[in-house]
């Protein structure tokens, strides 16, 4: 009798805490579990009774990596509740700020968290001596993204210049021009990134699933549009609860989700599969070169989709800065009149579609909140992927199976702190 027991306690190089449990006997799988033991934080309870401005300050603290996504979803939910109209300048700046985080988070993921697996090291740190050029390039791209976020949002982690209705501080045109120059130069670094990843041996594992992402007829959507599913088409964001259907499972402080099938995927690959035709030409060229085509059913390709999106993000940022410089920046006072009501904000965080749903009273005090986090929506898909993958590799050794599963979890770029911080709260 051969017994296989795998217990990866706290998977490394992911944001937050997750465990992988596999038990098999004589080549037969008995148990497989993706566990989320993260401490719950009760964010909805924390926001209760706070005014909308404080809510926008608390919300980013859900996650250090995607704080701009949480800030934006929060601000847009409040704006929807109050019926705030936004200027074109605000929308341009908001998109530019959002791009900065997408780029920063993607670079962090594919260079710092995912790449070490393919290069056979435990982390990015030893690469500083063996692959110095790679590390310096990663740091350059990350610094560019961080500096752009600092310029537009005031600070990369927990931005404060973006507010309900507008921006409290505007960048100087000269600063935007410097950024334009650096973004242009970054295209070379991204080309090198494409070359590097083209040469890596990405596991070939296919499991068909449903892909859900925002879709906007006008552009490759990050902060606007409807919910789109590769199975069922589009529906307004106000119907988000019909898509996410969160439920509890015994092994997790985070909720799991399903829609049209057993599970669904959100994130870079889901966006790519839904909105490929709207990517910039350079991004489409990068995806050709990397061998990524819609609809791709290999979850290990999520990192590759992130590289493609990074190219798109830099190109889009160049366009946005052009528009901002051409039209000139002017101070605008946010026009916010609070009223009682409910509003929903939906954005594409780096890891996938994120919803904030707020109900305010007539004083602009938050009465009820619900937030649905991308990683929560992916947990069930990770579990189903593991259930499909392990029987194929069950006769391999523990030393071979374990990294395959860890790499699978890492591919999803999970943000577990976020996902466990939300338990549906109904305020009485």
């Amino acid at each position: 009798m051969t017994q296989l027991n795998i217990n990866v306690h706290h998977v490394t190089r992911v944001e937050g805490h997750g465990n992988i449990i596999v038990n098999a006997k004589d080549g037969k799988l008995e148990e497989i579990r993706w566990e989320i033991p993260e401490s719950p934080r009760f964010f909805e309870a924390m926001m209760r009774g706070r005014n909308y401005e404080d809510v926008a300050i608390i919300a980013p603290r859900i996650c250090g990596i995607c704080s701009i996504a949480h800030a934006t979803a929060s601000i847009q939910a409040s704006e929807a509740a109050f019926g705030v109209q936004l200027s074109e300048q605000t929308m341009l700046l908001r998109k530019l700020l959002f791009n900065a985080e997408t780029l920063q988070s993607h670079v962090l993921h594919f260079y710092f968290l995912a790449a070490p697996d393919f290069l056979g090291v435990g982390s990015v740190f030893p690469l500083a001596s063996t692959h110095k050029e790679v590390v310096l390039r990663a740091l350059r791209l990350k610094k560019l993204a961080n500096d752009l976020a600092d310029l537009i949002g005031g600070r990369k982690t927990h931005p404060m210049a973006c507010t309900v209705g507008g921006f409290a501080k505007l960048p100087e045109v000269s600063q935007l021009k410097t950024m334009q120059q650096r973004l242009t130069e970054a295209m070379d670094d991204l080309k090198e990134t494409v070359k590097l990843f083209k040469g890596l041996n990405i596991p070939n594992f296919i499991r068909e699933t449903e892909y859900i992402a925002l879709n906007d007829p006008k552009e490759y959507a990050f902060i606007s549009g409807d919910i789109s599913s590769t199975d069922t088409g589009t529906t307004p964001i106000t119907n988000y609860l019909d898509m996410t259907n969160e439920f509890c499972v015994p092994q997790s402080t985070a909720k799991f989700s399903k829609h049209n099938r057993d599970s669904y995927m959100v994130g870079a690959l889901a966006r790519f599969n839904n909105n490929y035709s709207q990517l910039s030409s350079a991004a489409q060229e990068a995806s050709d070169e990397l061998g990524l085509k819609p609809i791709c059913h290999n979850p290990y390709m999520i990192s590759v989709a992130q590289i493609v999106e990074s190219v798109d993000t830099v190109e889009d940022s160049l366009k946005l800065i052009d528009q901002l410089i051409t039209r000139g920046l002017k101070e605008e006072k946010p026009d916010v009149k609070v009223k009682a009501g409910r509003g929903i904000g939906a954005v594409e965080a780096p890891r996938g579609i994120l919803f904030h749903d707020y109900t305010y009273n007539d004083k602009g005090i938050l009465m009820e909140a619900n937030c649905v986090i991308p990683t929560n929506q992916n947990h069930n898909n990770i579990q189903k992927d593991m259930e499909a993958l392990v029987p194929h590799i069950i006769n391999e050794t523990r030393e071979e199976i374990t990294p395959m599963l860890e790499m699978l979890v890492r591919a999803y770029d999970p943000c577990i702190s976020c996902s466990a911080h939300f338990l549906e709260v109904k305020f009485i």
């Binding site: 934080r41 250090g64 704080s67 962090l108 982390s123 990015v124 404060m160 501080k169 702190s417």
Partner: protein
Amino acid sequence: MKPKLAFFDFTGCEGCQLEVLNFETELVELLQHVDIVNFREAISEKGQDYEIAFIDGAVTTESEIPRIEKIRQQAKILVAMGACACLGGVNCLKNFHPMEENLKIVYGANACEYVWYYNTIPARPVSAVVPVEYELPGCPMNRYEFIKLAKALLLGKKFELPNYPVCVECKQAGNVCAFDRGEICLGPVTRAGCNAICITNGRRCWGCRGLVDDPNVNSEKEILQKHGLTVADILGQFRLFDGYLEVSK
């Protein structure tokens, strides 16, 4: 021998660990002088042999208490990073609602049966559980202050946080006073060291670096009165990051 560093996350957003990764060029330099043996967010190795431990996040579950005690036993120097580890941070907002109520709200009708999993306790800073040598406050912590501390520790020099209010740095930055813009600002009583970043960006101070030693409360009260505000107004603001102070009194 290079000193061995370890990073541990408790309940928080891991934004302060991310700030360490955000050093870019300085990070490469730092790595020449130290060994990072444990940093779950960034590396696979899980070394238990370290001299300096950096903690981010607050203590909010029962299981986190023995965990921090064990780290304390191993580490010669324990550093709390960020508002959550230093002050309890936004986590303490939940302390203002009775835990039974929080649980009832969360696990009410049709909720999880698995309440055992959520061994949640009132949120508290690291120093409420074990002694801490250094604190790097802020939400997130100021990464340049982290480098300053790292240098001081490597060279065996003294490290001290500024002991004057944010107003001093705000004046130096040439900002219009947030009170004059009609906002409630905690700058007059909050510890400096952030270069008044929030006010410089057109906002106000939310007190994420905690109170300066011996804050001039009377002067803050005077400012409040001048602008028609009450102590209740400002307490509500303090609860955002400094709620633990209020509850622990």
